[in-house]
């Protein structure tokens, strides 16, 4: 199950970021997962629960956002939803797509720190990343 390796990678990256920011907890992590990334969201959620035990990430909510696969044909200037299984041939001219526009993402989109101290500091001095 490669989702365990991915879950460990997510926890590692967020832990590193937490250490550098002095955060004491994480309330949620939002992931972008492309339709063509070959990741099963349920399996990832299960592995995440195990991977975050005894870390600063423990208790955080994992939110997975599926990004649909889209491809582009340059001559036709067409962008289409490739579907699953994907069709990477242009529906207009039948030529090979120039490339994927989306669908292979595997990214941490956003982390919400659960940190009262940080929130107080934010109140005095707004931080640009704040949402």
């Amino acid at each position: 199950m490669h989702e365990m390796s991915l879950a460990v990678a997510v926890v590692d990256q967020v832990e590193t970021a937490a250490r550098s920011r002095g955060a004491v907890g994480v309330s949620s992590i939002e992931l972008d997962v492309g339709e063509l990334a070959g990741v099963v969201a349920d399996a990832l959620a299960f592995c995440f629960e195990l991977a975050c035990a005894d870390t600063v990430v423990e208790g955080a909510e994992l939110i997975t956002r599926t990004v649909p696969g889209t491809a582009r044909c340059e001559p036709c200037a067409e962008v289409w939803a490739v579907g699953m299984p994907p069709c990477l041939l242009c529906p207009g001219c039948g030529a090979a797509a120039d490339g994927l526009v989306s669908g292979r993402e595997l990214q941490i989109r956003e982390v919400r720190w659960a940190d009262p101290e940080a929130a107080r500091e934010d109140h005095r001095q707004p931080i640009t990343e704040e949402s």
Binding site: M1, A17, P85, P86, A97, D98, L100, I108, D115
Partner: protein, 231 residues
């Protein structure tokens, strides 16, 4: 009580960084990595055994790293070719990662090695997302597996730089529809080369070795659509 920080980091960034370092180091010493992916039983080991033997006959220094969850059977088989071979036991892990490959090369791979074949764990799902520092990624499918394998495992087939159909001596018995298979490959990976091979009757002998040497020689290899960012 919370603040949000946009990290926008690729989850696999660590593996990709390790793979890039490995590729740079090995390329600098003249070693090219070929990553072989397929489902279990599709004939990776048999094909590799033949290609390693041919490499030996042609005086090409080739080696193989073969990965399985258990047993050293494949390493024993491949070693009969005379090439340096090492077994990786993954302890249950379903795929190889770049740092695992790098660890195993340490103190083992002869400096003179021109081609390093990495036989991934038999699995068409998990290995697909992991760059192992290869310069050529090959996906195999045997004629008994069904023509729709490329559609069922689009990421594995979609990221291949070469597709090899194995066990073609059994194509008729398996009622393998070559045209349908090729059409399915084309749908997920337009333009990729599909080679036909049989270890039993010798079909396609040396073809993998030739493509690997071409990649090692700096010849341009196929870039799958799935690996290209949209224009």
């Amino acid at each position: 009580m919370c603040r949000a920080v946009d990290l926008q980091r690729a989850v696999l960034a660590k593996n990709e960084a390790a793979a890039q370092i490995l590729r740079t180091e090995l390329t600098a010493r003249g070693t090219t990595v070929v990553n072989l992916l397929s489902s279990p039983g599709s004939g990776k080991t048999a094909l590799l055994e033949r290609e390693l033997r041919l490499a030996g006959e042609r005086g090409v220094a080739a080696a193989a790293l073969t990965a399985d969850l258990a047993t050293e059977n494949d390493a024993r088989r491949l070693a009969r070719s005379g090439a340096p071979v090492k077994q990786v036991l993954t302890d249950g892990l379903c795929h190889l990662e770049a740092d695992m490959v790098a660890r195993h090369l340490h103190d083992w791979l002869p400096e003179s090695t021109r081609l390093l074949f990495v036989e991934n764990v038999g699995n068409l799902v998990c290995p697909a997302g992991y760059d192992l520092g290869e310069s050529l990624r090959v996906v195999l499918a045997s004629v008994t597996e069904g023509e729709d394998k490329p559609l069922k495992y689009p990421t594995a087939f979609g990221l291949a730089q070469l597709v090899i159909v194995t066990k073609t001596d059994m194509a008729e018995a398996a009622e393998f529809d070559e045209a349908a298979f090729r059409a399915h490959v084309e749908q997920v990976n337009p333009g990729v080369e599909v080679l036909l091979s049989s270890v039993r009757d010798g079909r396609g002998a040396g073809a993998l070795l030739d493509r690997a040497l071409a990649a090692a020689g700096g010849n341009r290899v196929h870039t799958p659509v799935m690996a290209r960012a949209g224009a």
